[in-house]
Symmetry: C2
Subunit: 360 residues, 2 copies
């Protein structure tokens, strides 16, 4: 089976082998070695000299951690929103009592930096900005570096959902002054789902000292205390640490810049391929993501049928659209363990499946 | 290596094999089958006709879910506390703004039901009771059935940490009218850590509809909605579901009553064994746990040294004491995949290691 949803991504055999290892004491020296090793490698992959923590949860848990560790109920937060996941980020903040200003742009369309700047200029009370680096729901990558330049002009806290970009698309955490960056093990990291990885800047720690949102499981100051003794505050998903520690070696061996180039190349093949089949990209092409390609079809294509034919007749698993895009787009994930041939075979299957998915 | 801490517990080969399986789409039919199958088997093991959900987190995350789904800030909560984990449960409730009355009994000593009853009688405003079935920190099992009888006389909500008991020690969720019961995959369930399993009664759902504590990742009403389509709200730790679904088959094949009897037998061997070595049980013996034996030594035994000798010279890994019991007790876990011979070999190693751990 070719699993080409935008996460979970296929695990390389080394990761699967690591998953089969027997349990060890999570409060012993052997686990400490793995935790310290994975953390150090993650800091390289995050391009940060700051802290990185690994939480046992999905990426959404990491987003919740980003919010509750830095904010207080009543804090004003600006959410830059142009897809389902940026809306989720705003929902979490709102659920914990932040006053969220939703700066919404059309799904799949670029963020207007001018509007962001004007909003920040007009309201000095805004404490933090929620930004999504790669919108998995629309297959587009927001220009986080440019967003950061605006945000940092006003010296605000920048919280970033980079769940489906980090490790695949360049995101220099420190250079772009991202205060909290969140990702998930089942995306570019080539490990199974179940771990969220979260970086914390000095500025975020200062915010954390004032932040009054309730937190226990997500409390990153506890994670920091325990990491000093090579532990996590709560029992970690040990097997997933085995896998992640293994795939991080693969990642650093390949080299970040080579990985970014591979993702760019594979994504270009995907985009050219779908266009050559007469399909259109859902997002503005110059913002199209290097990890997930979101595709619109002519009205006469039955997208659920197309996905079914691909799965049942070609053993290729892709994703549909989420929320308001359900039934309107399909999405091909090409992140983590993926190379040119993988995506070419998806395109070939797609070319065969398309005629079978025509509406009468 | 013999891993005999009170969790993570050793995984049987079937579970480790399942962990090595490749990823699948968590929004597809194949995962739905596994999720539905595991959920149905968990309902049998929980002895409930109510709902059971599987969250990607450690057991502590499940405790947080129990609190935030049923309570509002300002709610009065009675915490029955006689160990580190019951204190954790109270800390979580307090962190989210509950007014927690801590009914504290000496660690390792029985809960005085009379005091519980008088406290409930004296304060009609108490909304919920936090109870720990098995205190992993002190190696004792609270008489949850008796606690429930008192709590239900006053028709209060009963939230139960059964992380290290469920599936090993009888806990008939419905019969004892437990409203939320929490456990974790790395304990009696013989799977690796990373999943919390949580049951929800009708009464808990009614409380949930009124509960105002903030929740997003832990929102069990979202879990219920998604379960209806064979999904989890957030990307689940797929591999751990593979393992849990497998070990649940082993559990139901062996049969709950046989498993309870095996744990009782193994625990008796552990208790008799440590006593025959001149050591004492930390908790009151009639409350001693069938999943973890906590042991006090004479003052002339260096416990950290004992644990080190066991690990380095006998390949047996046991746990020390937590918080105020650090350096004062050691703990042998005997839950999940454990039989008479396993614990006998731990006792034999212990008999050899003890003389080596004598202080000068």
């Amino acid at each position: 089976m070719q699993l080409r949803v935008p996460g979970p991504t296929p695990c390389p055999p080394q990761a699967l082998k690591a998953m089969g290892r027997q349990m060890i004491n999570h409060r012993g020296g052997e686990f400490a070695k793995i935790l310290n090793s994975a953390t150090e490698k993650l800091r390289q992959a995050f391009q940060t000299k700051g802290d990185v923590f690994v939480l046992t949860s999905s990426g959404t848990g990491g987003m919740e951690a980003a919010i509750v560790n830095t904010l207080s109920p009543g804090d004003k937060v600006l959410s830059i929103s142009n897809g389902a996941f940026s809306e989720r980020f705003a929902d979490i903040a709102e659920g914990y009592g932040a006053e969220v200003i939703r700066l919404s742009f059309e799904w799949g369309k670029a963020v207007d930096l001018n509007t962001v700047e004007k909003t920040l200029e007009a309201d000095d009370d805004i404490k933090a900005i929620l930004a999504t680096h790669n919108e998995t729901s629309t297959g587009m990558t927001n220009r986080l570096g440019d967003i950061s330049t605006v945000v940092k002009k006003f010296n605000k806290l920048l919280l970033v959902d980079a769940i489906s970009s980090l490790g695949c698309i360049d995101l220099p955490t420190d250079k772009w002054q991202c205060d909290v960056v969140v990702t998930g093990s089942q995306k570019g990291w080539m490990a199974p789902p179940g771990l969220a990885m979260v970086s914390v800047s000095e500025k975020a720690w200062r915010a954390s000292a004032q932040a009054k949102m309730p937190r226990y499981y997500w409390d990153l100051s506890k994670a920091k205390d325990f990491l000093q003794k090579g532990q996590t505050p709560w029992t970690p998903a040990i097997s997933l640490f085995y896998a992640l520690d293994t795939t991080l070696d693969l990642i650093l061996d390949e080299g970040l810049s080579n990985i970014f180039a591979r993702h760019a190349r594979v994504a270009r093949i995907a985009r050219e391929g779908v266009k050559s089949l007469g399909l259109s990209l859902f997002p503005e092409e110059e913002y199209a993501s290097n990890t997930v390609t979101a595709v619109s079809t002519a009205d006469n294509i039955d997208i659920p049928k197309l996905i079914q034919v691909l799965r049942e007749e070609h053993d290729v698993v892709i994703a549909g659209g989420q929320r308001k895009l359900a039934g309107k787009i399909f999405r091909i994930g090409h992140l983590g363990a993926v190379d040119d041939d993988d995506i070419k075979s998806v395109l070939e299957a797609l070319s065969k499946a398309l005629p079978r998915a025509k509406k009468d």
